[in-house]
Symmetry: C3
Subunit: 182 residues, 3 copies
């Protein structure tokens, strides 16, 4: 059987931004965003915009939020990002209006080609459409689109697109019931 | 279809304590409880009691334990709280005698009414009865009572009450076998 | 029914190393390894070796990696350890060539005998054979051997040995398909 060889791994084609920008972001983020300090939301948003994020109105960002690269992040109005949420965005992540990401959830944009001995990086962008709710400690996998008002329940893993106004649970997350807003 | 509007969210009826108390707790906790510093257990318990927690004898609290509001927390004798456990208690959480909460587990007391466009906060208290074991990286959902000596296995999600002397696994956690203590 | 009594818990037979060594490691690790500081990989490896870890060539260790006891850790060539990985090694953990442990995964070596009122500690060593991939936010349980090129998918929980060139998913993780490297 063929074997994987991580020494041959090559992601030189992937250009996430200059080392200076990434280093500066890492340091600033560790102090103001990915930290437990009670930093006012206006300062967090100011910093995120300074590093290229698009941030709408009335956005809430709790402590210890880990964002990989803010210049790949778009946040629309009325979005909530819970404590210890991890947006691991090697590529674009878009959070539409009224999205709620609960505490300790993970948005994962980096996959690997496990069928190749080179274990190539395969980034996939994530889109959370309006009104979607990503439950606490759940994971959205690379390339997944969570459609309008879909819900991923606590601790679940979305490996495929989630349909609008539907609720998904488990690992892999499967449809369990409809979401009716009365 | 109706849509959720987080701008209309209103939790003004929810009174978790004065902003001064919460802010002071957040800062003190970040240094002594929710941190990796090797703080003696007696100091941790002294601080927790100072902020209104009820803490029994022979209690173990490992590093980086995140407690939302200690004034809503009751810990009886011989309880173990593992590293990086997160007690996200918007309302009361009671840990009875000989409860073990393993590392990185999450007790979640805040839900939202996803059937309302207002996404209302729906807190639910959590009771872990004596001898219960909450496995590493698992989650207890709002309003759940874990009865005497029940076990929630590693990485599982308890969405309903767990019965005494029974073992539950998966997401949602289902009964898998009895717990017999010989 | 018999009840568990954590006051009677006794792990005095377990000798993980002197208190001085463990305390020093905890402090040093909190600064250089289990932290978000951008520490050069050469310094991390130097420290790990100083504390008794065996570390091969071409090893990658991301920020905030939590290692319990480095003197129980063997890392072979070309291994990747992702951000916030937690190697909770009360006993030996061996990571063979070309292993990848993705972000926030947990290697758990400590179990408890839940059939005893003493709740005895039952450590179990973990071996990840060459080319294995442990997915993000997944858990490998005590005593599990992950065989050559097996994959544990995102958020899954390995409670038993995983066979070579096979892919496992869920909690508990079950076989879902073969891994073919082309």
């Amino acid at each position: 059987m063929k074997e994987v060889n991580l020494k041959k791994f090559d992601n030189s084609w992937y250009k996430p931004g200059s080392i200076f920008k990434r280093f500066t972001w890492h340091v600033i983020s560790s102090i103001f965003i990915n930290s437990n300090l009670p930093v006012p939301i206006k300062i967090k948003i100011f910093i995120l915009r300074l590093f290229g994020a698009e941030v709408g109105h009335n956005v809430t960002i709790k402590p210890s939020v880990n964002i990989k690269y803010p210049w790949f992040l778009k946040i629309k109005d009325n979005v909530w990002i819970g404590e210890k949420v991890w947006i691991d965005n090697f590529v674009e992540v878009v959070l539409h209006e009224n999205v709620c990401i609960s505490q300790n959830a993970l948005l994962l944009t980096g996959n690997h080609n496990y069928k190749s001995e080179l274990f190539d990086l395969m980034p996939g962008k994530i889109i959370l459409e309006k009104g979607a709710w990503i439950g606490a400690k759940s994971v959205v996998c690379p390339g997944v689109k969570v459609k309008s008002h879909a819900i991923l329940t606590v601790g679940s893993v979305a490996t495929k697109d989630l349909d609008e106004y539907k609720i998904y649970q488990g690992n892999p997350a499967i449809f369990v019931r409809n979401r009716e807003i009365l």
